[in-house]
């Protein structure tokens, strides 16, 4: 991405641009995953195989994050008796999201027609063929099916992330109902607002202000703040696990949690470097930032533990890794490597306090800290991106927007996401409650959801 363009202007154009206007996208340093779809109808450009290859690889990396990755990360943290339940909920929720995505999700988020909050058209992928393409941020294109797959994995993992706060007590059937409603009224609109041309947050100037467009390279707002806040709200409605803060609820296998952590890290590059939509230098920048912010965050969490009189722990290391990944998500292509290192460190320490001190004080039961890490880490990342983007701090920004204005925009975007996610989740959870009862019986909760909900044991040694 070259420097010196008027960002806000470029964006205004971009929102209505067809393939003809695509060269302008080269200057777009922000909201990386935007408005690719509208251009797809133009005369047939052909995807460069290198970019297509990278985007297919990136889609698979996000899948790797979900099924072995997140399922293991979350599953390892639960108790033995709920292991399969946790993994199955993650997997089945992802499957559900995929089916809904191709039916109407893609249309609601990236459809050819729409307003600031939602779009429509292309339902059931009408009109998409193997020759359809989607625009990137330069004058390149990628296969539209590939773009659809890539975005599909984002919807799938975001829903799965929410479940981290409600495992060990929420019914499988409730997860399914919740998933359908939540995707429809929370995820698709937010994805549209943030990533689609014409979207409310994509355009800048929110609420009649002259604020610039927000920066979110790979989904800090759409994925992490959204998932984190939704997780908190769902956990509050659902209530605490029986015996919470009384019984020992130690992770049944930190080994598996560490395996999951490694897979999440590897897969996250699909998320972050994939959000460049091409295998170019911007992807390279996103990659190096995702390496070093994460490395920094992993070590800083252990350091925070030491400074608080504890031993540096394996779970702390893993938690730091995730916190760093979350924080660098919006900043991936919007920061220099050393801005990313600082961002990772700061997010890690703040999440450490959120998870160890704040949660205990407030007493809510966010079982696997989906809010404490994705929610809080996402907010730190979103706001911090407004800072590290500045060229004076090594960021790739062109300096045309002051740090203050950018940070203000970032805060607005965070607040919009928080409110939308909270309200939508409330609705989705209560609908799930009305239909299924939401929570398993006491007996099932005590004996474990593996036996009670699925009729199996995770281990038969």
């Amino acid at each position: 991405m070259t420097k010196g363009e008027n960002m806000t202007f470029a964006k205004k154009i971009a929102a209505s641009a067809g393939a003809a206007g695509l060269a302008l996208f080269a200057a777009l340093p922000a909201w990386a995953q935007e408005a690719a779809a509208p251009a797809a109808e133009a005369a047939a450009p052909v995807a460069n195989p290198g970019n297509n290859a990278w985007m297919m690889t990136s889609s698979l990396l996000v899948l790797l994050m979900i099924l072995p990755g997140l399922a293991l990360f979350y599953g390892g943290l639960t108790r033995t008796k709920n292991m399969l339940s946790t993994m199955t909920q993650v997997g089945a929720a992802a499957c559900l999201a995929m089916l809904i995505w191709v039916m109407y999700g893609y249309g609601l988020a990236f459809g050819p027609e729409g307003n600031a909050f939602i779009s429509w058209g292309k339902f059931f992928l009408a009109g998409v063929t193997q020759d359809s393409t989607a625009a990137t941020f330069t004058d390149e294109v990628i296969s539209e099916y590939v773009f659809i797959c890539f975005q599909m994995t984002f919807a799938a993992i975001t829903l799965a992330l929410v479940l981290g706060s409600v495992v060990e007590r929420m019914k499988f059937s409730a997860v399914m109902i919740f998933g359908i409603v939540w995707l429809t009224i929370v995820y698709f609109p937010i994805a549209h607002m943030v990533w689609a041309g014409g979207g409310f947050l994509f355009e800048g100037g929110m609420f009649g202000t002259s604020l610039p467009a927000a920066l979110d390279f790979a989904g800090g707002t759409v994925v992490h703040i959204n998932a984190g806040v939704s997780a908190l709200v769902a956990a509050l409605i659902l209530g605490k696990r029986m015996g919470y803060q009384k019984e020992i609820m130690a992770p049944h296998s930190l080994t598996l949690t560490m395996v999951g952590t490694g897979m999440l890290w590897v897969g996250w590059f699909g998320f972050n470097a994939g959000s460049a939509l091409e295998a170019n230098g911007s992807a390279g920048l996103a990659m190096i930032n995702t390496f070093v912010a994460t490395a920094s965050a992993g070590l800083f969490w252990m350091l925070a533990e030491r400074l608080n009189g504890h031993k540096g722990s394996a779970l702390g290391f893993c938690s730091g890794i995730i916190a760093g990944l979350v924080a660098v998500t919006p900043a991936a292509g919007n920061s220099g490597p050393f801005g990313a290192i600082v961002l990772g460190a700061v997010a890690s320490v703040i999440c450490f306090y959120a998870v160890t001190v704040l949660k205990t004080r407030l007493g809510y039961d966010d079982a696997l800290d989906a809010f404490g890490i994705h929610g809080i880490g996402g907010m730190v990342g979103a706001i911090g991106t407004g800072i590290v983007y500045a060229p004076g701090l090594g960021g790739p920004g062109d300096g045309s927007v002051g740090i203050g204005a950018q940070v203000a925009t970032q805060i607005v975007a965070v607040l919009v996401a928080i409110v939308w996610a909270a309200v939508g989740t409330m609705i989705a959870t209560y609908i799930a409650k009305a239909v299924t009862g939401l929570r398993v019986s006491e007996e099932v909760e005590r004996e474990g959801l593996d036996l009670g909900e699925h009729g199996e044991r995770a281990y038969n040694y």
């Binding site: 803060q245 020992i248 609820m249 130690a250 992770p251 504890h310 031993k311 722990s313 779970l315 702390g316 938690s319 998870v355 160890t356 001190v357 949660k359 205990t360 800290d369």
Partner: protein, 112 residues
Amino acid sequence: MKLILAIIKPFKLDEVREALTGLGIAGMTVTEVKGFGRQKGQTEIYRGAEYATNMVPKVKIELVCDDALAPRVVETLQQSAGTGSIGDGKIFVLDVGQAVRIRTGETGEAAL
């Protein structure tokens, strides 16, 4: 016959078994257990949730021998399992009415 039931520190098992073999003991049965007593367990912390485990991993030995040998078994056990530090464990002695070797049907001391 006596059933000697000893709860010891796990890392002492090999030493104890060798010492008992020296006495001519040909068999025993070992179980992994958790002990609750004066010795306190390590404190574990997972994301701020502290668990002060008061259950410490121990090994239980069950061993049947004839009455005559019992005092020497107890003594050998006490010596070989001891480290002098808290949590070394206990030895209990119970009476056994009958013993059978499943393979042969032998009973009494011949079964041991």
